[in-house]
């Protein structure tokens, strides 16, 4: 695993970015998350060498910047995808792909591969201005991969897309990044994108790097910045253990326990379901607690675990963190009254009844 180590300062007339010492483990997808205007894009551009910064950057053994010495952008080996794609408007889609190949020593076979994987064959002779937002991003992604980068940098690639296009592009990004095995930085202000794609999370706020942690660690904080108006969220990872749906449902193994999800939610996303790891999203407010295995309920998904922590949210509400036997965590939100009636305390065995599960392929 490579590390991207940096300590950068960027001073703009009305904004200052100061990262402090950061060592980013480049493994899978690292989300750079924070509210709009917190300096995410500036950080990425400073890392790429596109905006002048003071300080140091090193990718593994390769020094990108040290004091006044700075490796120019074109020698850093970065694949970039911009908010608007950043396609060269005077070249066709194929011309854009060739532009990358001609400078990276890529082959026509590489091109054919990514054209196929990203569904670009019908677009090759088109001009960028005729493409839809989602098509532009797919071309930009293929082009970035054909540049054979050491790091991929995606600057809010989905912020300009409608939710349907976004839903199609998200699994595609995940798939190709995994397949290309290129460590990826993803800028986003959407918790949903983080929960679906990220392995690591770099949290930013007002020009400062707050924290670097795994997605699970970032989500286990009771007041994680990833929680939006819907409250606390848990992301459970599981493996699809069966290909043929039963009553339209597929079992997903979470540790030793099974959860049932609607098969159409998985299958609609063109993903190889056999033993694929998928992420399940559970809202804390959709979780009900019981002291014994419940019976006579319509709820299909019940997970057994133990109370790990209890955090009062308000005078009458408590957020409970449950640890599952396989180490994954699950949040539940209950009233202070229920908490008292059930006599909840740390280490207590508990059953979590999950009313609805979102599938995030």
């Amino acid at each position: 695993m490579t590390t991207l180590a940096f300590n950068l300062t960027v001073s703009l007339p009305d904004f200052e970015l100061q990262t402090g010492e950061v060592a980013l483990p480049l493994e899978g997808i690292t989300a750079i998350f924070g509210p709009s205007g917190c300096g995410k894009s500036t950080l990425m551009k400073a890392l790429a060498g596109l905006v002048p910064a003071q300080g140091s950057v090193a990718l593994g053994e390769t020094v990108w910047q040290s004091g006044r010495q700075s490796l120019p952008v074109h020698r850093r080996g970065i694949g970039m995808v911009f908010q608007d794609g950043g396609l060269l408007p005077h070249l066709s889609v194929e011309g854009n792909l060739d532009y990358a190949i001609n400078r990276s020593g890529g082959t026509q076979a590489d091109k054919a591969h990514w054209v196929e994987a990203l569904g670009l064959s019908p677009l090759l002779s088109q001009w960028p201005h005729t493409l839809s937002g989602g098509q532009k991003q797919r071309v930009a992604l293929a082009r970035a991969l054909l540049a054979k980068p050491k790091v991929l940098m995606l600057d809010e690639p989905m912020s300009a897309l409608d939710w349907q296009t976004k839903n199609q592009l998200l699994p595609l990004i995940k798939k190709v990044v995994k397949e290309a095995r290129i460590p990826t930085l993803l800028i986003t202000h959407s918790p949903d994108e983080v929960e679906r794609l990220a392995d690591w999370v770099l949290l930013m706020e007002r020009g400062r790097v707050q924290k670097v942690s795994t997605l699970q660690a970032a989500l286990s904080e009771p007041d994680s910045p990833l929680f939006d108006h819907q409250g606390a969220v848990s992301v459970l990872e599981g493996a699809v253990s069966q290909v043929e749906p039963t009553h339209g449902l597929l079992p997903v193994q979470v540790g030793d326990q099974s959860m049932w999800v609607l098969a159409e939610e998985i299958l609609s996303d063109e993903i190889d379901t056999v033993s694929a790891t998928i992420r399940l999203r559970v809202l804390a407010k959709e979780v009900t607690l019981a002291l014994s295995p419940p019976q006579g309920l319509s709820v299909l998904n019940v997970l057994q675990g133990e109370v790990e922590a209890m955090t009062p949210l308000s005078e009458h509400k408590v957020r409970i963190r449950i640890q599952l036997p396989d180490g994954q965590g699950l949040f539940a939100e209950v009233t202070a009254l229920s908490c008292e009636q059930l006599g909840l305390h740390k280490g207590m065995p508990i059953y979590a009844l999950i009313k609805s599960v979102g599938v995030m392929p």
């Binding site: 120019p72 074109h74 694949g79 911009f82 950043g86 060269l88 400078r103 001009w127 201005h129 970035a144």
Partner: protein
């Protein structure tokens, strides 16, 4: 097509005019591009001053520009004097002199479209090209020039057409020396002074039609050139 029966002198004037316009637009492209780039992106406070200087020929009577050039480039001006001291000829009443005059006179017409083209150019394609391993020179030729092509075409064509019609600067600085400074507009002026309206008519018609054709061609090319990039 009786107006095409030109005298050798008239052919010479025409040829001289085309030569002057070609040299002017070519040189303006070379010096206009870095100047326009600097004006578009420099953070220096002097940008407004330099912009004003570049734009001066738009508002000054050509006679004023011609007058100052005459006293600078002529035998008693500091440029002319220096040249003479080094054994060269001063620049008043010479082709080189009116070429310098033309360049200054058409400078704003070349710099303005170039500057607009550079300033309005989207930055992400250039940054994307850099990320794909394109060096600054590579980016200049493969991204910046193609993206600025409409501005470049405008600069060249307008500088060329503008020079075709130049009069005031030439008459102040160059006079009317056949084969050296007697461009078509000067020849028309001379004919009119001699009341030779037929000859003046001939040359005027040629200039009018040529200018029109150049501009018509320019707009046609520009539309086609920009078609694949229209947002």
């Amino acid at each position: 097509m009786s107006f095409l029966h030109l005298t050798p002198d008239e052919w010479q004037s025409l040829w001289l005019t085309l030569k002057l316009a070609t040299y002017t637009s070519g040189i303006l492209l070379v010096i206009g591009m870095p100047l326009a780039w600097w004006l578009a992106f420099s953070r220096c406070r002097c940008v407004s001053l330099v912009s004003a200087v570049v734009a001066l020929p738009l508002v000054l009577p050509p006679a004023v520009l011609g007058f100052y050039l005459l006293i600078t480039l002529g035998p008693y001006g500091w440029v002319g004097e220096t040249l003479e001291a080094w054994g060269f000829h001063h620049l008043a009443f010479s082709f080189e002199g009116i070429l310098i005059g033309s360049i200054l006179y058409s400078l704003p017409f070349a710099v303005q479209p170039l500057r607009d083209a550079f300033a309005s150019m989207p930055q992400t394609p250039i940054q994307a090209a850099a990320s794909m391993g394109a060096s600054p020179l590579d980016r200049f030729f493969t991204v910046i020039l193609p993206l600025a092509r409409s501005g470049i075409l405008s600069a060249v064509v307008i500088a060329f057409a503008h020079t075709l019609g130049e009069f005031g600067v030439v008459i102040m600085l160059g006079g009317s020396i056949p084969g050296e400074t007697k461009v078509v507009s000067i020849a028309i002026y001379d004919y009119t002074q001699e009341l030779n309206y037929e000859a003046a008519h001939r040359l005027s018609a040629i200039l009018l039609i040529t200018s029109f054709l150049i501009l018509a061609l320019f707009y046609a090319i520009n539309r086609r050139l920009m078609a694949p990039m229209k947002p």
